[in-house]
């Protein structure tokens, strides 16, 4: 089952002719993901890697190929527009990889998305992987920039605001021969499409997910909101790691959203809320998998 995407999902890549988009479209193709179209305005009619058709608009790509999900690799000034184009084309899922989109652009995008059927993941995220059954988990659906080979098909859901910490958690699981149902990077920006809570609800409803690793960090109150719901409604074991306990207040720690401001958004407050919700807290990032497995 998995959530959001399956190995059958048809994916298009917005910004497929840029160096970053091209590289990761190639890696996704190599992983066995159905990358069925690319979109670059002005380059419609060309082929990517001699096989993937490129279109000028998302709507044309959807009509011609039946793609239902998109990866956005468009530079920051144009990314908000690209996301809205995907929503307008009626995609099920838009995954925005782009880092550095102005916050005001995302505020407008989120407002414009209200009442629309499309789900947005990101921006500023590694994307989403539902591992496949093949060697090094090939044959799965990889949308974004995560390394495919670290995954293994299985029953743990991973949701995280950080790319490299997602890879750490996934690798810790795979090395213990424990696989993942789906791994979702929700991104490090203050305004994003999908929250920890949204993903945890999906994992809770997914029969193939038996346990959840949630990776949060300082800034905002998304982890606290997830904690409240987990306490009341989550039927599956959850382990969490929160990064940034040692971060100085008022400083942005790399991610635009990772900032303790006005005493709000501290790691301590998040850990307290999660502990009160019965979530197992990983004391260090080295023991994320171990902490969940002990709880299971």
């Amino acid at each position: 089952m998995a959530i959001l995407v399956t190995p059958e999902t048809k994916v298009l890549v917005q910004g497929i002719t840029g160096s970053f988009g091209a590289r990761h479209a190639q890696l996704s193709l190599g992983y066995g993901t159905h990358v069925v179209a690319g979109v670059t305005p002005g380059k419609g009619g060309q082929l990517f890697e001699n096989k993937v058709p490129i279109f000028d608009t998302v709507a044309e790509a959807v009509k011609a190929t039946g793609a239902t999900a998109s990866a956005v690799f468009v530079p920051p000034p144009f990314a908000g527009d690209a996301i809205l184009e995907g929503i307008d084309a009626g995609l099920d899922l838009v995954v925005a990889i782009t880092e550095g989109i102005p916050v005001a652009d995302m505020v407008k995008v989120k407002r414009a998305m209200q009442g629309k059927r499309t789900r947005l993941i990101g921006p500023n995220c590694p994307g989403i992987v539902t591992p496949g059954d093949g060697k090094d988990s090939q044959g799965g659906c990889r949308i974004g920039i995560a390394p495919g080979y670290i995954h293994k098909r299985g029953n743990i859901g991973v949701v995280s605001r950080s790319g490299t910490l997602t890879y750490e958690a996934v690798w810790q699981l795979t090395q213990r021969d424990i696989g993942q149902s789906t791994c979702v990077g929700i991104g490090g920006d203050p305004v994003n499409g999908t929250s920890h809570l949204d993903v945890i609800k999906m994992f809770n409803d997914d029969p193939d997910t038996h346990g959840i690793i949630m990776i949060g960090e300082i800034g905002g109150t998304a982890e606290e909101e997830a904690a409240e719901w987990i306490k009341a409604s989550c039927r599956k074991p959850v382990a969490a790691f929160i990064a940034g306990a040692t971060a100085p207040p008022g400083r942005r720690m790399g991610h635009a959203g990772a900032i303790v401001s006005g005493g709000k958004g501290t790691a301590a407050a998040k850990i307290e809320a999660l502990t009160a919700a019965g979530v197992a807290i990983a004391a260090t990032p080295s023991v994320m998998a171990e902490t969940l497995l002990k709880r299971m």
Binding site: A146, A247, P285
Partner: protein, 400 residues
Amino acid sequence: MNLHEFQAKQLLAQYGVAVPSGEVCHTADQAKAVADKLFTAGEKAVVVKSQIHAGGRGKGTFKSGFQGGVKLCKSADEVFEKARAMLGNVLVTKQTGPEGRLVSKLLVAAAPPIKKEFYLAVLLDRATSRPIVMASTEGGVDIEEVAAKMPEKILKESIDPAVGFMPYQGRKIAAALGLNGDLAGQCAKLVAGVYKTFWECDASLLEINPLCIIELNGKEAMSAVDAKMSVDDNALYRHKDIQEMRDLGEEAPLEIEASKFNLNYIKLDGNIACLVNGAGLAMATMDIIQHYGGKPANFLDVGGGASKEQVTAAFKIILSDPNVKGILVNIFGGIMDCNVIAAGIVEAVRETGLKLPLVVRLEGNNVQAGKQTLGASGLKLITGDSMADAAERVVKAVAR
């Protein structure tokens, strides 16, 4: 990016927000000349305000012993004296830390009598993904304290980005502040201007504390007496005028150097430096150093595709911090080749002539080749098997 008070007020004035008239000055003579102009125009008092990127200026102390970074003056000569005492001296406030900040410019402005103080701010509400206007009758004080003790005293007005700030919201805020008649109209207009400044300048925070009722030509009027503003770094590309307001004198020299190489570096006060790929992992590496009893000297994210040049620059930057007694390199090379990183580390260590203990934890793509490169280099470095193992080793090596 943070702005100075005088820069924020320039922007506010451009959007029609009433601010006390004044000018930025770099010398005491300049300050006197501006004060002369203001007194000649009929002002009864003039204020001299240190321009640094930190709050608590009024209650701060200069390292020279001079008290107060904000001074009210009754004559141009007094302005000259105060300006001379402040300029070129280091001001320590509760927000600067003990090292303080060098005051190299002053805002010299009209200081009309203040009848009442309010609080006003516009910021992003992350929970709703919308801007929010906050107003309170409790002005001129620490708003975090008000929020903790009397949350009912803070009005929060959410703004729909599809329609923007509406006039009724200005009237609602004026009413909540207890204003009526002409002042209420002035307040509504001022709040609309503050919101417009926030939105059109891509601000992440715009705070007016205090927003005041002042006495102007024998009548009461609304005025933004202080202003604090920071702008979204991601949006600076579309604001050339605001980009030019960047004050490198307010930033740590090592952080400026790092930004030249697209490295994300933040200096901290510990002694174990770290070099990591990815912001989340970089924060987590600081945390795990502390977990094993050490203190991180910095946050440093070399990014997803770090080049050899970047790794070398990163080593030079962390070694410029005299507190550093050991280094932890923590790389999860998902897609980037660990062997390339290893070669970068070897070269950086040779080039910088590193003598401090160095612990390297490599994981991911082509990791065996990377470890071989490190092993064959003949360098005295310690390899960690896991993140925990590496953190423990670097803490031990530094304690020795």
